[in-house]
């Protein structure tokens, strides 16, 4: 990997990682979040027979940048009765959890922040870190609505991690590795080698795997919606009930950081789905770089395919948000414990049996 080579040259691993992973990823995350917000507004506008932002810049493309500039100028209000250190720390803790998860996302065969063997496990562990930040935000704001939002959020994220992890575990059982780069690598050549279509296995086993894999993906996708607090599971920030949920008391850039984290999280869960079920950075039909024998083109194409697949899933999340109503908190728990978790268990056993064949 590039970072290791750079570390040898510089003699310092931390600086090498900063240059090769942290800064490029941050430079990806911020514009992505800005344009995801813009896309969300445009998508919702198209769905609702509206025009959406169209004033700032051509087709409103600079709207979110203007919004950010506005948020920077806003007064940073800390409520008098707030628990100040926790209140200030909370948005950064939430953002940290999101950003740390980006480290193990394989954007292409060459570019991966940190190619660790426990990639999937690491992302799931680190992204649940943001729960602590959300609880801190809700508690420190000293607002009943914030507290409600935080309580719901924690209950929700902690419980939905169970089906999400079960779905991933069932997939990983056949895959045989937790390294996201390796997972992507094995789904090579054509799209029917993606794990959602049974992976690069042969014969009856591949055929039998198609349905359980699909179920695993659906369970993971639904659970991940809950983990990133998106509709129909957006009860922590249910606008019509809890005003803005856990970030009710936040203003200015702190508020913006919560949004950055939310959109970052949306990308992270989509990236995991892509890497495990949709072939990761693999092209569905082979590479132009190979057929024209320009090897340098291949990693760029891989980045394109990875972003294309992940952003499509982000789009699906937006689409769902503007279509579905919101669940109530007890129904949310019912969906998790009465439906998703048992199905995930059954699926786990099924895939276990199939992999033994």
């Amino acid at each position: 990997m590039i970072s290791d080579q750079l570390a040898e040259i510089l003699g310092n691993k931390i600086i090498a990682y900063l240059i090769t992973a942290a800064i490029p990823l941050f430079l990806f995350l911020v514009p992505y979040a800005l344009y995801a917000v813009y896309a969300e507004r445009k998508v919702s506008a198209f769905m609702q027979d509206r025009i959406g932002p169209n004033r700032v810049g051509p087709k409103g493309l600079l709207q979110t940048i203007a919004d950010i500039l506005k948020l920077i100028q806003k007064e940073d209000i800390i409520p008098k009765s707030a628990d100040k250190p926790i209140f200030v720390m909370a948005p950064y803790v939430v953002f940290m959890g999101t950003f740390a998860a980006f480290a193990a996302i394989p954007f292409s065969s060459v570019f991966i922040g940190s190619n660790i063997n426990l990639g999937v496990f690491y992302i799931m562990a680190v992204s649940s870190f943001s729960v602590i930040g959300i609880l801190m935000a809700g508690w420190a704001g000293n607002n009943k609505y914030s507290l409600y939002g935080a309580m719901r959020s924690v209950a929700q994220i902690v419980s939905y991690e169970v089906p999400a992890l079960l779905a991933i575990v069932s997939a990983v059982m056949v895959i045989g590795t937790l390294n996201l780069n390796e997972i992507s690598e094995m789904q090579t050549a054509r799209f029917w080698n993606w794990w959602i279509f049974g992976g690069p296995l042969q014969g009856i086993q591949k055929f039998l795997l198609i349905v359980p894999m699909l179920v695993a993906f659906v369970i993971f996708f639904v659970a991940s919606l809950a983990e990133v607090n998106r509709t129909p599971f957006d009860i922590p920030e249910a606008e019509s009930e809890l005003v803005a949920g856990f970030h009710t008391e936040y203003t200015g850039m702190k508020f913006a950081i919560f949004f950055l984290a939310e959109y970052g999280n949306m990308f992270v869960v989509s990236a995991i789905s892509t890497a495990i079920f949709f072939g990761g950075w693999q092209s569905p039909f082979g590479y132009l770089g190979n057929s024209f024998s320009i090897p340098l083109l291949v990693p760029i194409e891989q980045v394109f395919w990875f972003l294309f697949k992940s952003l499509s899933l982000v789009l699906v999340q937006m689409w769902l948000r503007w279509t579905l109503p919101r669940l109530r908190v007890d129904q949310l728990m019912a969906v998790c414990w009465k439906y998703l978790t048992p199905y995930a268990f059954v699926n786990l056993v099924l895939i276990g049996i199939i992999s033994l064949i």
Partner: protein, 418 residues
């Protein structure tokens, strides 16, 4: 001196009654028995400036006290100090989602008080605008209820439909919102062919568009689960709480002022009174949707039957003349001058007149002492009465259900606070 003595006597008596066992009140320790959440008046789901004090235990509502009056403008008092004509613009601001039907309600009340008969064409125009207002109001009710349970898109779709109606209102009355369209003895301006054309187009398109909106909700399991069995009120309780309109009919009571006490020309119109027996939020939603369909039916009949003729009755002493005539003719000018300055003077007496508004039964109780000003004008606003059932409806449900229930009651605070 005597009164002073009386007063002290009274206050000691009040103290005595307060200290007796029957009238004691318990101040609960909030830390011991749950939390008090203050919802509103600035809250995205309270439909204006409704304030709710909710006593909750975890997520379950133990008690709820609605507090009204944040939008109180003293309309009943204003009415006592303005002539009957002057009060019409104020009725726009009662139920501001359906100003046209408020205009109609007030005009009908004054006409009943003064004994004015209006031309048939005016009656039909009033029916058309009332039904248009009903559709416009129910569209907002359905949209906001869907938004309250989280489905944002429905709201925008209903507003798209509502916009078409607003356009017709704009052409007809010259205003989209503060219409002030009716006059005592008729209506302000004539129904034109452009309006007919636009309304016919709307009627032909609306059922399919409504179906599209329904598709987003009726088969959506999340929406059904959020509303089914939530905020149930029984038939007896609904009557006891004085519910009217869609909220009452959702509990299975077949009461519609248009049918029970026909006004205008509703007895000659064929329509159904929609009733559901469940009495929950979902039933209230279904009643509204079905009523919109019935309104389309009524509109179609009204357009077919719309007679030609005058839109104001000829009654120089009580009915304002046409504006064109005021500027061109002497008699009308004098007539207008007299009416504006001294008002129409109905005979001494009192009446109660009510109409079926989108929100329920809107009644005006007018007492005349023979002068140009009403001695008393009591407004029986449906939203105000409907809101008193809120504590019963939300009890035992969860915080998230409160917004769904408020959405299904569909209060308009302009009307509730008067």
């Amino acid at each position: 001196m005597n009164t002073q003595q009386d007063k002290s006597e009274y206050s000691s008596k009040i103290l005595e009654t307060l200290l007796t066992k029957e009238s004691d009140f318990i101040i609960e320790d909030t830390l011991e028995s749950g939390m008090v959440l203050n919802m509103g008046p600035q809250h995205p789901a309270t439909h204006g400036v409704l304030r709710l004090l909710i006593h909750i235990d975890g997520e379950t509502v133990v008690g709820c006290v609605p507090e009204l009056g944040y939008l109180h403008r003293g309309y009943e008092k204003i009415a006592e100090n303005s002539t009957y004509h002057e009060f019409i613009p104020h009725t726009d601001r009662l139920d501001y989602l359906a100003p046209l039907s408020n205009n109609t309600a007030f005009a009908l009340a004054v006409e009943k008080l003064a004994g004015i008969e209006i031309p048939k064409r005016a009656k039909y125009i009033r029916m058309i605008i009332s039904e248009m207002a009903r559709i416009a109001s129910h569209l907002v009710a359905v949209g906001t209820m869907a938004m309250d349970v989280g489905a944002m898109t429905v709201l925008l779709w209903t507003f798209r439909e509502r916009e078409k109606l607003q356009e017709i209102m704009d052409i007809l009355t010259g205003a989209r919102f503060t219409t002030s369209y009716t006059r005592i003895g008729g209506v302000a301006s004539d129904w034109t062919s452009i309006c007919t054309e636009k309304l016919k187009k709307f009627i032909s398109e609306f059922p399919t568009n409504l179906e599209e909106i329904e598709k987003l909700l009726n088969t959506n399991r999340i929406f059904l689960e959020r509303t089914e069995g939530i905020g149930v009120i029984s038939k007896e309780k609904a009557i006891a709480m004085g519910l009217t309109g869609p909220n009452l009919r959702a509990s299975g009571v077949d009461y519609d002022v248009r049918r029970a006490f026909p006004y205008l020309d509703y007895e000659n119109i064929d329509f159904e009174v929609i009733t559901y027996s469940e009495g929950d939020s979902l039933a209230r939603y279904f009643v509204r949707v079905d009523e919109m369909k019935e309104s389309v039916k009524i509109l179609r009949q009204c357009l077919d039957k719309l007679p030609s003729g005058e839109i104001l009755s000829h009654d120089p002493k009580r009915v304002l003349p046409h504006k064109v005539n005021i500027y061109t003719r002497m008699e009308e000018l004098i007539q207008d001058f007299m009416l504006i300055n001294f008002g129409l003077t109905p005979p001494v007496g009192e009446i109660y007149s009510s109409v079926e508004n989108p929100k329920g039964e809107l009644g005006f109780y007018l007492v005349s002492d023979g002068t140009g000003y009403p001695w008393r004008c009591k407004i029986r606003s449906p939203s105000f009465v409907n809101l008193q059932s809120l504590p019963i409806l939300v009890k035992g449900h969860m915080v998230s259900d409160i917004v769904a229930i408020i959405g299904s009651i569909d209060p308009v605070m302009g009307e509730a606070d008067k």
